[in-house]
């Protein structure tokens, strides 16, 4: 079987730490965006037209909020994959250590 090991133990450990942080923080950000928190207003890319040409305010803004929120959730999902990958690398690194001994 071809060796799937492509990073050393330190890189894998960094990977898993950043992934766990990313999953938790991006998931929480996603939740806060989908509940339309006012503090995050600067992170939502709305333009003048969204505010003026709105039939049912503030529906447009809320839609934008939800979009950013879903982006955050997808990014959190990407980090779940990266976490799984890093975890596999750590396991392979451990096995290599034992085999050499």
């Amino acid at each position: 079987m071809v060796s799937c090991l492509f990073c050393g133990p330190k890189l894998a450990a960094c990977g898993i730490v950043i992934s766990i942080w990313g999953v938790i923080m991006l998931a929480m950000l996603g939740i806060f965006f989908t509940t339309h928190s006012a503090v995050l207003i600067d992170d939502v890319p709305f333009k003048e037209e969204d505010m003026h040409n709105d039939q049912d305010p503030p529906h447009n803004i809320y839609k934008l909020y939800n979009q950013v929120g879903y982006n955050c959730f997808i990014a959190a999902g990407i980090y779940v994959l990266v976490a799984a990958l890093s975890f596999c690398q750590i396991k392979l690194n451990h096995r290599k250590e034992y085999m050499v001994r």
């Binding site: 942080w21 990313g22 600067d42 939502v44 890319p45 982006n71």
Partner: protein, 744 residues
């Protein structure tokens, strides 16, 4: 037991023990790690001491062991063993091949040719071998082969000797090994049994060689460590013996040690144990003596408190039995750090990092890296700093530069519109910035946000005007409180040392000076925060304070409360009166006391004219000294009060810097990715988040953390400790083998 609030009480003890039991006794004391030997031969140079030869021997042994540890000799041995093993292995393979050959030879027996060549050849070379045989001899031979293992066993039956010679040369060319095989069955059988026994013998020899190799290596490795530590211990013991006195009869050794009073019993037991081990009949004598010398400072610490004690000792080890600032530092240091760091997201990351350090402490210590060692020593400090930062982050309502809205903001925008307030839809179109007016009913609910800063400030554009004023005033309040605490600790010191004169001459004027000026400043701040007034007409506290010092009451509207003018005049006059009290009271009292002493001693010293003159001269010199010292102290204290209070404003400055850095990092890094809503926005967000995380750790945690650590430390070392701490003692350094082992 107040042993951590001030250093332990020490006693000077004389030890007498026999020369034979000296080594064992000192060994026991070294394991105990509680006594410090005094140098009884301070005049002698190193090579004049009694045990100098033994120390030199130990150093020689250390050198040898160090060279040994480079495995020079061991390498040679290893090489020999390895080459032996290789030759043995070769023999073994050869014998195995012969064995196989003989086994299959019987199968070819029905061929009647009696000229043959037998051998073993590698499996992949056999086809080529066969082809060349055919080309050369055109089938005038019979070739049989079998393939037991990776190698092929073959026999070529031929007629004629010449052909045999040619085949031999061919076999050489193919690197096939040939073996002589006897013709008749009986000889073959004998040969087989012979070969088998030889194989068994070789197997045994190989196994023994392996075992020998293992044991040699492990034994050497284990012994090396042991020998090295033994030699170190011996060297320490002989060095200690050099510090002791040996009496005339050469049978008794006298040592003087500093030892904590509470540990005298354990020292005594250790000595008895040591003398029993050496088999001597007399137990050592422990004799406590009185002395005027200053004992060393010993603070008993555990793994949690040792970090804090070491950062205090880095500035100066406390005087003997002076108040130890370490217990208070355990709370105030992380708190002042957290005031400057104030972000619950960063605090959480710092706490988790410290938790990882605490749980994997041995693993980090094994790496033997200086930087990591420092981090590991301070792991509890970092843990507390992180915890306190989470708390101040919740108070500042700041988490990665965003606020939490847990309870609902107390400010509301809707009441600003018609019919409550002045705004209409057109107001929104015209202006870029709008002010929420708290005087319009409903805009401000009247109940402040229950815990922390209201989250609406996070999205307000005048956030800094509010937060700056708040943080500056808070820094001054904390600074004055910290300094007052320091001055109070000096009172505790005076009472402990029964120095009640200094309480009246130094403590009381210091405290009154600080309270009347800076305590009043705190009162003004708190009063202005609590009392309701119109914001346009509220006087500035800074201007009030300046006018108070200049006695300037001419400008209008400069009163916060009715009786402000007389109160302020009184306070300033009192503060100014404290300065001459501090400056002159103590030196004048000392001068009067000395004059009284001189007057009393004059009749007794008539005959010693020079003695009197010298005393008079020294009296004058010391009086000048005292005046100068007191002058310096007064100026340092009074001007220091002002400058130190201003110095505490760094609490505001660093927390502002941290908040701004955090906000810039969010806006410039993460917001760029969040604002992309088209297709690949989530992938860009994932990549950008990694950059955000790395930058947060390096800039905000490492750089800002170090900076806030340094400033909090400076506030403790200078502004807090110069109110009460002398810090000119010397540290208790016991003879301890544990400490030696940890340091190597």
């Amino acid at each position: 037991m107040d042993s951590f609030f001030r250093s332990e009480e020490m006693c000077l003890v004389q030890l007498f023990f026999q020369t034979e039991s000296a080594h064992n006794c000192i060994n026991e004391l070294g394991h105990l790690g509680l006594v410090q030997f005094k140098d009884l031969n301070p005049g002698t140079v190193a090579f004049q001491r009694r045990f100098v030869k033994e120390v030199k021997k130990c150093e020689e042994m250390e050198r040898i062991l160090r060279k040994y540890s480079r495995f020079d000799k061991l390498e040679q041995e290893l090489k020999e063993i390895n080459s032996n093993r290789d030759t043995l292995r070769q023999n073994f393979t050869q014998l195995m091949e012969i064995n196989h050959l003989l086994k299959v030879f019987d199968a070819f027996l029905f061929y009647l040719h009696d000229r043959f060549v037998a051998g073993v050849i590698k499996h992949e070379r056999f086809p080529a071998f066969e082809k060349i045989l055919w080309r050369l001899f055109h089938g005038n031979f019979v070739l049989r082969h079998e393939d037991p293992v990776k190698k092929d066993v073959f026999v070529v039956f031929v007629q004629g000797d010449q052909i045999r010679g040619k085949i031999r040369k061919l076999c050489d060319g193919f690197h096939a090994s040939m073996y002589p095989c006897p013709n008749n069955a009986y000889a073959r059988k004998e040969m087989r049994t012979n070969v088998n026994t030889r194989i068994e013998d070789l197997r045994l020899v190989l196994k023994r060689t392996e075992e020998f190799r293992e044991t040699t290596l492990t034994a050497a490795a284990a012994n090396l460590q042991e020998w090295a530590s033994k030699v170190k211990k011996m060297k320490a013991i002989y060095y200690t013996l050099n510090l002791c006195n040996i009496d005339i009869t050469q049978k008794l050794i006298v040592a003087e040690i500093w030892c904590p009073v509470s540990d005298l019993n354990s020292v005594h037991t250790a000595l008895i144990h040591g003398s029993e081990q050496s088999g001597s009949s007399l137990s050592p004598v422990v004799n406590r003596i009185q002395t005027q010398q200053t004992p060393p400072t010993f603070n008993r610490v555990n793994s949690f408190t040792s970090g804090f004690q070491s950062i205090i000792d880095a500035y100066g080890v406390g005087n003997y039995q002076e108040i130890n600032p370490a217990p208070y530092t355990m709370v105030t240091f992380p708190f002042l750090f957290a005031v400057m760091f104030g972000d619950c997201g960063h605090g959480l990351v710092m706490t988790l990092l410290a938790l990882w350090l605490i749980l994997h402490q041995e693993h980090f210590r094994k790496l033997k890296n200086e930087l990591i060692d420092m981090l590991v020593d301070g792991r509890y400090i970092i843990f507390l700093m992180g915890l306190f930062s989470i708390y101040t982050g919740l108070i500042y309502n700041d988490c990665f530069s965003k606020s939490f809205n847990v309870f609902g903001s107390s400010w509301s925008v809707r009441p600003m519109f018609h019919p409550h307030g002045p705004w209409t839809n057109d107001t929104l179109h015209d202006s870029g910035h709008l002010h929420l007016d708290p005087l319009v009913s409903g805009v401000y609910s009247g109940n402040p946000y229950p815990f922390g800063v209201d989250p609406i400030w996070n999205i307000a554009s005048n956030k800094l005007s509010f937060l700056n004023s708040y943080k500056m005033k808070m820094s001054v309040i904390m600074g004055v409180a910290h300094m007052l605490f320091g001055v109070t600790l000096s009172l505790v010191n005076y009472i402990f040392f029964r120095n009640l004169k200094d309480v009246a001459l130094q403590f009381i004027p210091e405290v009154i000076f600080m309270l009347s000026l800076f305590g009043y400043l705190i009162f003004l701040i708190l009063y202005k925060w609590c009392v309701v007034m119109k914001s346009e007409s509220a006087p500035s506290i800074l201007l009030l304070f300046i006018n108070m010092m200049l006695f300037d009451y001419s400008s209008e509207g400069t009163v916060l409360y009715r009786t402000q003018k007389p109160v302020q005049i009184f306070l300033v006059v009192v503060a100014v009166l404290m300065v001459p009290w501090l400056l002159f009271a103590k030196p004048l009292l000392l001068y009067r006391k000395h004059k009284q002493l001189k007057f009393l001693s004059l009749p007794f010293c008539l005959s010693l004219f020079f003695g009197v003159k010298k005393a008079f001269v020294s009296l004058q010199v010391s009086m000048a000294d005292i005046f100068v010292y007191q002058g310096i102290h007064t100026i340092e204290y009074c001007l220091g009060c002002i400058s130190n209070t201003a110095s505490y404003l760094r609490l505001w400055a660093l927390s502002l810097a941290h908040a701004e850095l955090s906000e810039v990092l969010w806006k410039m890094v993460l917001q760029v990715a969040l604002r992309v809503t088209s297709g690949m926005g989530s992938v860009l967000l994932a990549v950008t988040f990694a950059a955000f995380a790395v930058l947060t750790v390096t800039i905000l945690l490492v750089m800002e953390g170090l900076s806030a650590f340094l400033h909090a430390l400076r506030l403790h070392w200078v502004e807090f400790q110069n109110k009460f701490y002398k810090g000119s003692g010397y540290k208790f350094t016991p003879l301890s083998f544990n400490r030696m082992r940890d340091m190597q």
